[in-house]
């Protein structure tokens, strides 16, 4: 191995070998250092990248899903909450049944939306399902309260106490109690409750959605049928995407 070095002195050979070894070690160290820096940079970039990407992915708002159906636009004969129709950028129409448990579950979400957004009108339309015996009387109660300017107060009361009256054979007396609680003229309430005008109005609401609605509640966002959001955050983001401002 050292034949070419034969003519060098022992000391020189030794020195040469030492130099070579040092050079080899230095270049080896350098490579190792580069590899180490690359490895750890890669790990750091990977971890930070993953967190950033996942945060981006996860916070991506669910897109609005329309089911491809439309409904009669809201007008001033409807019950409107939030801001007046003419100022609204987004109009949310709900077809609902006071006796349906899902509607009661959505009630608090819809109420929150009416409160939270400053350019959204919320519209309530009756869709009393035939299997709910007290749904139509409840709708009449809300309308009768509406005659005295307290539709939404009665609406809230009916949903909040749904479990109390929905099982009753006749809930009329309970509704009278609610009217009294709300400070209504109970005699007038009773008359309006049975009036043909109110019954016709409820039926008109029902018919306006009959060919579009398979169940309650059904929501229409700017007259387009909506896939029911799964939770409040989804509901909120859908309305924001449609132009709702908080």
């Amino acid at each position: 191995m050292y034949s070419t070095e034969q003519n060098l002195s022992k000391k020189e050979r030794h020195e040469l070998r030492r130099q070579e070894k040092l050079a080899a070690r230095a270049s080896g160290e350098q490579k190792k250092k580069t590899a180490r820096v690359m490895l750890w940079s890669f790990i750091v970039i990977f971890v930070a990248g993953t967190i950033a990407l996942m945060a981006g992915l996860a916070s991506k708002t669910p897109s609005v899903q329309y089911l491809g159906g439309t409904v009669k636009a809201a007008d001033n004969n409807d019950w409107i909450k939030g801001i007046p129709l003419k100022d609204a950028k987004v109009i949310l129409i709900e077809y609902s049944d006071f006796q349906c448990p899902a509607c009661a579950a959505y009630y608090s979400m819809v109420k929150q939306i009416g409160k939270e957004f400053k350019n959204v009108s919320v519209v309530y339309r009756h869709f009393p399902l035939s299997q709910h015996a007290n749904a139509r009387p409840a709708a009449q109660a809300a309308e009768a309260a509406g005659k005295q300017g307290k539709f939404w107060e009665m609406h809230d009361m009916l949903f909040e106490n749904q479990t109390i009256w929905s099982g009753l054979t006749s809930a009329d007396e309970t509704f009278n109690t609610y009217a009294r609680t709300l400070g209504l003229d109970v005699e007038k309430f009773k008359t309006d409750f049975n009036s043909a005008e109110i019954k016709t109005k409820i039926e008109a609401d029902y018919q306006s959605g009959a060919d579009q609605i398979d169940g309650t509640p059904t929501f229409f966002l700017n007259d387009k049928k909506l896939q029911n959001p799964k939770n409040y955050d989804e509901f909120r983001s859908i309305i924001q995407q449609a132009g709702g401002a908080i």
Binding site: W40, V47, T50, M54, D233
Partner: protein, 163 residues
């Protein structure tokens, strides 16, 4: 670096390529668990394309341990695996890989428990959670395999012969 040789006089050590799966699985598990953890903190629903039930599973009371989301613990576990694997690649110290291997039973047992919860208690399957269970199971198998090899070939790494 040419004068390398197995210092032990036992048969040649098994190839190390299999253990490349430690960082790979650690990385995959980390991506998966991070996704679930971020979802948990943002509260957005998890879309499940293949199996339904992600929301049910990740919103169940079992998704928290003393208020800490399981997904976050999972992400930290996989991050630990990944970092230990990287330290090993860097230092080549067998003790690091051994320590990593000793951690894998914890991930595996936790996965067993969560799969049990999903199937028998919550009765809903979350595909992302199952993916995590799969990677922690493979990590466990690899870890045990490594420990077994360690016993047979205590010096699995190559050592430089002193000059």
């Amino acid at each position: 670096m040419t004068n390398l040789e197995v210092s032990s006089n036992k048969p040649a050590a098994p190839s190390n390529w299999l253990f490349a799966f430690f960082p790979i699985l650690g990385a995959l598990g980390f991506v998966d668990a991070t996704y679930l953890a971020v979802k948990h903190f943002l509260g957005t629903p998890i879309p499940c394309s293949i199996l339904k039930g992600c929301d049910q599973v990740t919103n169940s009371p079992y998704s928290l341990i003393y208020g800490v989301p399981v997904a976050l613990l999972g992400a930290l576990y996989y991050l630990t695996i990944l970092i230990l694997a990287a330290i090993y690649i860097d230092s080549r110290k067998p003790s690091v890989l051994k320590f990593l291997a000793c951690l894998t039973p914890f991930g595996f047992l936790a996965s067993l428990w969560f799969v049990y919860l999903q199937i028998f208690i919550i009765k809903a399957i979350c595909i992302y959670c199952m993916a995590s269970a799969t990677s922690s199971t493979i990590l466990f198998i690899l870890g045990m395999y490594y420990l077994k090899k360690q016993k047979i070939y205590p010096q699995i790494t190559l050592e430089k012969i002193p000059d």
